[in-house]
């Protein structure tokens, strides 16, 4: 059984302590909370006090508590909606890539930790989080829950996830949209390799279902700068028979150009669908990238691309 600290590094969590994962669009939830709900609730049953953080509306401040304790607390009510967040983790073969500069950590390793971290943050702000792992289709679906102990279930699923199989993001997205009945935040952690048109259609499907979609696109540095010099046989991680023996020096420029095109088109597609695309490289500490992104998101700025 995996330890929680294997996935959640206290240092990273400390760094992200002041951040919240907020939905930018109106999402549906069972409870009223941080996020704007399309349902107008009458129940004003008090649920709990929560410490004020920067950005909270001042009108929710409990001035009585302030008067007693001289501290800012927010009153939270049951009917305030909470966020239902689904993390979609790509566990296809291509995520098994271990680069030459990442000390044996695969892209899936990186993605799992990112997923765990996000889940923890979401649960911490009393929203509910679910996890779906997939390759050509969904493998394991862990429905969103709001209990703090849910993180344990999530980590167990992450632990059991091994990379393998092909990717068909478009098909997986189409399959999942009907399963996510309520509008919410969909976080896709994937390298997004595959037919770009099919992927964009899948993403558009999510948007059509009024989900707020964020894509964390995981890259290995090798995939971005193609550093190979000697004759190399590239064995496909997804299909065993697929092998190409080439002189990488001759192909490097073309590859990089091809990569640039792909990323350009993908970024444009995401932009068109108002999806946040957060590219991350496995040699970069995810907490750093995540905190940068979350801060930016809170300010309502555009998604960054590093």
């Amino acid at each position: 059984m995996a330890k929680v600290t294997d996935y959640l590094d206290p240092k990273d969590l400390a760094r992200l302590a002041n951040h919240q994962v907020l939905a930018k669009r109106v999402v549906e939830g069972f409870c009223s909370g941080l996020h704007r709900s399309p349902h107008k609730g009458f129940s004003v049953e008090f649920k709990q006090h929560r410490q004020y953080v920067h950005g909270d509306e001042i009108r929710h401040l409990d001035w009585k508590v302030y008067g007693k304790s001289d501290r800012f607390y927010i009153r939270e009510y049951e009917e305030e909606t909470n966020l239902r967040c689904n993390i979609l983790l790509d566990a296809s073969g291509s995520m098994a890539y271990e680069g030459t500069r990442t000390e044996g950590r695969s892209k899936l390793h990186y993605a799992s930790r990112l997923a765990a971290c996000l889940s923890y943050m979401i649960l911490r702000q009393t929203d509910s989080v679910g996890l779906i792992t997939f390759d050509v289709k969904s493998r394991k679906i862990l429905p969103p829950r709001g209990q703090a102990a849910h993180v344990r279930n999530l980590i167990d699923v992450l632990e059991d996830t091994t990379p393998g199989g092909e990717t068909d993001l478009g098909a997986v997205f189409h399959e999942l949209v009907p399963k996510l009945k309520r509008r919410g935040l969909v976080i896709i952690i994937s390298d997004c390799f595959g037919d770009l048109d099919s992927v964009m259609k899948g993403l558009a499907h999510f948007r059509h279902a009024k989900h707020d979609v964020v894509i964390f696109q995981i890259w290995d540095p090798d995939e971005l700068d193609f550093p190979f010099r000697q004759w190399t046989r590239f064995d496909c991680l997804e299909i065993d028979e697929k092998q190409h023996t080439v002189d990488p020096v001759h192909l490097r420029e073309a590859y990089l150009e091809n990569l640039e095109n792909y990323r350009e088109k993908f970024t444009q597609g995401c932009h068109r669908n108002r999806i946040d695309l957060v590219p991350m490289t496995t040699d970069q500490p995810y907490a750093e990238a995540l905190s940068y992104y979350l801060a930016l998101r809170k300010r309502g700025g555009p998604p960054s691309r590093k």
Partner: protein, 811 residues
């Protein structure tokens, strides 16, 4: 297409290096599991063929560079334009189109077609499917630097009417006018073929100076050996224009010899594609006739001090006109260049010299002192010398070593107190007849053979072998090991051993010890059978006295000296010839009528062994009672001694050899040549002795070896009598010989006409005529190194550029 430096063509095999590197690179690839295959695959889909093509192009260029470099270094010479076009130019052009295919893919069909067309055309033309032009690649001779070998005839015959001066003038003039980049070598042909410098030189001015110092002082030439040598030298030349210039007087005698070198020359010319041209410069002069001393002979061959010897000389009138008779002449005898006798027509009734008929003139002479002397016979024609074109051959010399003592040790195996009953008594009498007949009388003819008799029981090698030249073992039963070892060393160091058999002989000991492989002192083993009978006449036999080829018995070809078949042979040891290995090493000199060997010879080390199947006394044969006995034993003894003494009358080019006591090893000996120049030669140890060798004997005449602790030794090097034959060979005959035998392209320049004193112009000289001829000819083949070098540079630059361009692959 051929190569001036053919061996370097194999360097083209270096093309495998880039190929191997490429294959190794391909086979030693890294394995990389890869996720972003969709990005790679789309690149590969577009570029795979293109990358493959580019890699093939780079590989072809990298392989072509070492091939072209090897061709360049091997100095490729193209004889036919079409070959160069098909094998070099068109493939390179095809490569160019292939590069264009890679660079401009939009026109790739066009460039592919052009590339294929070039290759197909080259292939078809080279295999003869398409007739290609057979235009030869040739260059005008006068514009080309040349690799030339001048064969200069410096034999005596070139002295006729200043032929050699013309040859020398031509040679130095030719060398001075040679083009920059030319190489030349001057080879003297007379006597032994000798180049002035070992290798061809570009310093033609210096070579011209050297060749102008030469003189015609050598023996006759071997034309084909000289051409062979010149061919060897000229084939090392670095120029396309390769020429052998033979400057000679073209005497018939020189061209009639068909030597082994002709066969060798034919063989070496067989595979030679770029044959040199042969230019013959005839500088010979017609002559009326020539008188010469043809031969000189001293009899007997071993000369003792005080012994009267006969010097016979043959003189000849070599006038081509058969009716020519030369009347008035004198002949004189010189010993060590001092006149000792002279014969005149008036007093000595010398016969007139009829053309083509040998006339013998003989002198009697006694040597008063022991040592090496040179005996010369000189013919002095009186009156007009028009009939005597060559003066050098009017005298001929021979070296004579007069001996005051010649030690012969007779080991008596069956001594007896009674006169003539001992085994060696007859032999000693025959070897020293004058001493034995009347020892008290003062000798008129000195008996220079000093025969010492020793009984077998008292034979002590350390004592008795001192100062002996020949040892005779007469009916010796056996010897002890010490004696055998001493005899072995004696023979190997140049002693003569004469083994006579008899009834005392222990055949087993002879076969096992004396004739053992280690000692080898018995030419043929003895079979244990003694043939014949002393009493039964029917079992007697005779020596087969037919014509003797062997010099030891040649004297008996003249029956006046006795007939070997006169003496009955009663008993004899049967010599075993069945061991072919041993029989090959031995020569049977004479046989008995039963076909059994009688006299056998074997050479060992520097010495010689004679084996006689019978006894030397009268016990087994009647020989001692016959008149041939004395000449027989003396001739055998003389023969043995002659064999063990190095020859001192030699043909030109032979090596002078002289043995000295071992104490003189590593000492310095001076050799004085006929022209009075001298060389210092070091003696080398040779067994227990020291040996001096001197090979530079191209010049006929007297050579003297002298040193600190030695008497001067004289050697006579004789010019061939053929040099006196001055008949000339015609141009047609020369052409016939050179064309038919050698297949050379031959040019003939006739400079034999005497230059008239008036109206002489430079163009009439031999060189002028040669240059006039040279202006009109052209040479097959063109050196291609410059074009190849340019192609290599272009390929290197192209490779660098393409490597950069091909890195940029389209997405």
């Amino acid at each position: 297409m051929t190569f001036l430096n053919g061996i370097l063509v194999f360097g083209a095999a270096a093309f495998v290096i880039p190929l191997v590197i490429h294959i190794i690179n391909r086979s030693r690839f890294n394995i990389q599991p890869w996720g972003a295959m969709h990005l790679l695959e789309s690149v590969l889909r577009v570029n795979r063929r293109r990358v493959q093509l580019e890699q093939i192009i780079l590989l072809i260029i990298r392989c072509a560079i070492p091939i072209l470099l090897a061709l360049c270094l091997a100095q490729m010479v193209v004889t036919q334009q079409s070959t160069f076009l098909n094998l070099i130019v068109l493939p390179l052009v095809a490569l160019g189109f292939l590069v264009l295919v890679a660079l401009f893919p939009s026109f790739k069909k066009l460039f592919w077609s052009l590339c294929a067309a070039c290759l197909l055309y080259a292939l078809a033309a080279e295999t003869g499917v398409i007739p290609s032009s057979d235009e030869d690649k040739s260059s005008s001779s006068k514009d080309l630097p040349a690799s030339t070998v001048i064969l200069l005839d410096d034999s005596f015959s070139m002295r006729v009417e200043g032929s050699f001066e013309v040859a020398r003038e031509f040679s130095s003039g030719f060398l001075k006018q040679m083009k920059k980049g030319s190489q030349a070598s001057v080879v003297r042909m007379g006597g032994a073929v000798a180049p002035i410098f070992d290798t061809p030189t570009r310093e033609t001015e210096y070579l011209a100076k050297k060749s102008s110092e030469l003189n015609a002082t050598s023996d006759s030439i071997d034309v084909f050996q000289s051409i062979d040598k010149a061919n060897d030298i000229v084939m090392e030349g670095e120029n396309v224009k390769r020429e052998i210039i033979l400057v000679s007087d073209f005497r018939k005698a020189d061209w009639e010899q068909v030597s082994e070198s002709l066969t060798k020359l034919k063989e070496s010319l067989q595979d030679q594609t770029l044959k040199p041209v042969l230019t013959l410069i005839d500088v010979g002069r017609e002559s009326q006739g020539n008188l010469s001393v043809e031969t000189i002979q001293v009899e007997p061959s071993l000369v003792g001090v005080g012994q009267e010897v006969k010097v016979r000389a043959n003189v000849l009138n070599r006038n081509e006109d058969e009716s020519s008779v030369f009347q008035d002449y004198e002949v004189r005898l010189l010993v060590n260049d001092k006149e000792v006798q002279r014969k005149k027509k008036s007093t000595d009734k010398l016969n007139p010299l009829v053309s083509g008929k040998l006339e013998e003139v003989s002198f009697n002479y006694k040597f008063e002192q022991a040592g090496s002397s040179v005996v010369t016979v000189e013919l002095i024609p009186n009156g007009v010398n028009l009939d005597n074109a060559l003066i050098f051959d009017d005298r001929k010399s021979v070296e004579v070593s007069a001996l005051d003592r010649l030690g012969v040790l007779l080991v008596n195996g069956e001594p007896s107190d009674e006169f003539l009953e001992g085994e060696t008594d007859f032999l000693k009498l025959a070897l020293t007849p004058f001493k034995e007949t009347d020892p008290k009388e003062p000798l008129q003819t000195k008996d220079f053979i000093d025969a010492t008799e020793v009984e077998l029981s008292t034979f002590d090698p350390s004592l008795h072998l001192q100062n002996q030249s020949v040892v005779v073992l007469a009916n010796v039963k056996s010897l002890n090991d010490n004696q055998v070892d001493a005899l072995g060393a004696f023979v190997r160091n140049g002693g003569g051993l004469w083994v006579c058999l008899g009834d005392q002989v222990d055949a087993d000991w002879y076969n096992e010890t004396l004739g053992s492989e280690q000692n080898g002192l018995l030419p043929l083993p003895l079979s244990n059978e003694i043939k014949g009978s002393e009493t039964d006449d029917t079992k007697h036999t005779l020596i087969v006295a037919s014509n003797f080829d062997h010099p030891a018995l040649a004297i008996f070809n003249d029956k006046r000296n006795g007939n070997l078949a006169d003496a009955d042979i009663m008993k004899w040891h049967l010599l075993d010839e069945t061991d072919t290995h041993r029989a090959r090493a031995a020569t049977v000199v004479a046989r008995l009528e039963t076909d059994a060997p009688w006299l056998v010879e074997k050479k060992m080390g520097k010495g010689v062994i004679i084996q006689m199947a019978t006894s030397i006394d009268e016990e087994w044969t009647m020989m001692p009672t016959k008149n041939f006995y004395l000449p027989l034993v003396r001739e055998i003894t003389n023969y043995v001694i002659e064999q063990v003494n190095p020859k001192r009358n030699l043909p030109a080019g032979a090596t002078l050899i002289h043995y000295l006591p071992g104490t003189q090893a590593e000492s310095s000996i001076t050799v004085t040549l006929p022209d009075n120049s001298s060389y210092e030669v070091k003696t080398a140890p040779f067994g227990s002795q020291a040996v001096v060798e001197f090979s530079n004997t191209r010049m006929p005449g007297t050579y003297v070896m002298s040193g600190k602790e030695m008497e001067p030794v004289k050697f006579v090097v004789n010019a061939s009598a053929e040099e006196s034959r001055l008949e000339r060979i015609s141009e047609e005959e020369i052409r016939e010989k050179t064309d038919a035998i050698l297949g050379f392209e031959t040019y003939y320049v006739d400079a034999s006409a005497k230059e008239s004193s008036s109206g002489y112009e430079e163009k009439d000289s031999a060189l002028g005529k040669y240059l006039e001829m040279d202006n009109e000819r052209s040479f097959l083949g063109e050196r291609m190194w410059l074009y190849l070098l340019a192609a290599i540079l272009a390929l290197v630059i192209l490779e660098l550029i393409l490597q950069r361009i091909f890195g940029r692959v389209k997405a």
